[in-house]
Symmetry: C2
Subunit: 179 residues, 2 copies
DNA sequence: CTTTACATGTAACTCGTTACATGATTAA
DNA sequence: TTAATCATGTAACGAGTTACATGTAAAG
């Protein structure tokens, strides 16, 4: 299960509650790894049972109590080891590609619309990444090693968005003059 | 379940057995959608039960019998409709990105190695795509609409590979001069 | 007065992977 | 004789989604 390692990674710097993790999985690491709150809460309990995390119950006023988690020594060790394991390359499994195999005059305008929607969300995402990059990762060679890793992930995100937008333009060209 | 639609799509042109589908999912559509034979056989049975596919039992000499499947009218109709539904954008969920968040001097050389392995498999894949493109999709504006769709998917694959290779070069640069 | 944010959970289900199983034929 | 190709399956498990459930407080 790689979600556990993504969660442990998110806990490297801060101790966080399930709720906070869920939110950070909507941004940051979550740009590359989506997870629902149900998955995260479950995974946290499992990791605690395995001794990789330690929890603390925090009473709060005016809002529900929360449970915050932090890495144990065993958790740190596990993460460090995990990095050395093999990781395989998963396919994207995007419906859109399957749909394109089904392109017909009937659905052509619908496909153009879907492509435009993808372009729109991709543009938004790209802007967000670029803002984060400009703010925190503008000078990657000046960063400590771990931050350089994060900077590279961000670059991957940016490059993917740009590539995707270019491809959508290609699609529009090739579909635009059809029928 | 989008796998069913990927399978139905593969059956648009030919009638195929589970075994043949499994192989074509190792190539072609399978570049964008991986599935194991267990998944495929099960899905085929389910689709037949739903009346979207029809099967035929073929006795063979010198090799096992096989069951070939083809789309029914209901299957065609279902596929046509499905294209009009919403499809959402899934994240890549790649371990490698999570690992990069864990970059340390200790694992730096391992990370370089993993990046190089990715580059190698990506280069092979890219060459394969380019060969297919040159052979069958060299002149996309001359193709009928459905083939244009396929050509676009192939272009997406090529552009992704190129982008990925460029990113790996970036990584090497930023990690190469570290420590 | 309704929605959003905070905070955590259960249950059912679908999707996907891994391991195991069978058995013939053909090529190295 | 060992491995690969052909051909189809079961079973167990792990990962991920969707629906449902609860309850307070602040903001609109």
């Amino acid at each position: 299960m790689a979600l556990s390692h993504a969660i442990m990674t998110a806990l490297l710097e801060d101790q966080l509650s399930g709720y906070e993790l869920t939110k950070s999985f909507d941004t940051s690491l979550g740009f590359f790894w989506k997870a629902s709150h149900q998955q995260i809460y479950k995974c946290l309990r499992d990791l605690e049972q395995q001794g990789l995390l330690r929890s603390e119950h925090i009473a709060q006023e005016g809002r529900p109590d929360k449970i915050i988690y932090q890495l144990t020594d065993a958790g740190h060790a596990e993460l460090e080891q995990w990095v050395f394991g093999e990781s395989k390359f998963r396919e994207s499994r995007d419906d859109l590609y399957v749909k394109l195999y089904n392109l017909t005059p009937d659905n052509l305008s619908h496909m153009r619309l879907e492509l435009e929607q993808r372009a729109e969300t991709t543009r938004e995402r790209l802007q967000l990444y670029q803002r984060i990059q400009a703010r925190h990762y503008a000078e990657p060679t000046a960063l400590p090693l771990r931050k350089r890793g994060v900077a590279l992930v961000l670059r991957a995100g940016i490059a993917q968005c740009e590539q995707y937008l270019g491809w959508i333009d290609d699609c529009k060209q090739l579909l635009g003059d059809a029928y």
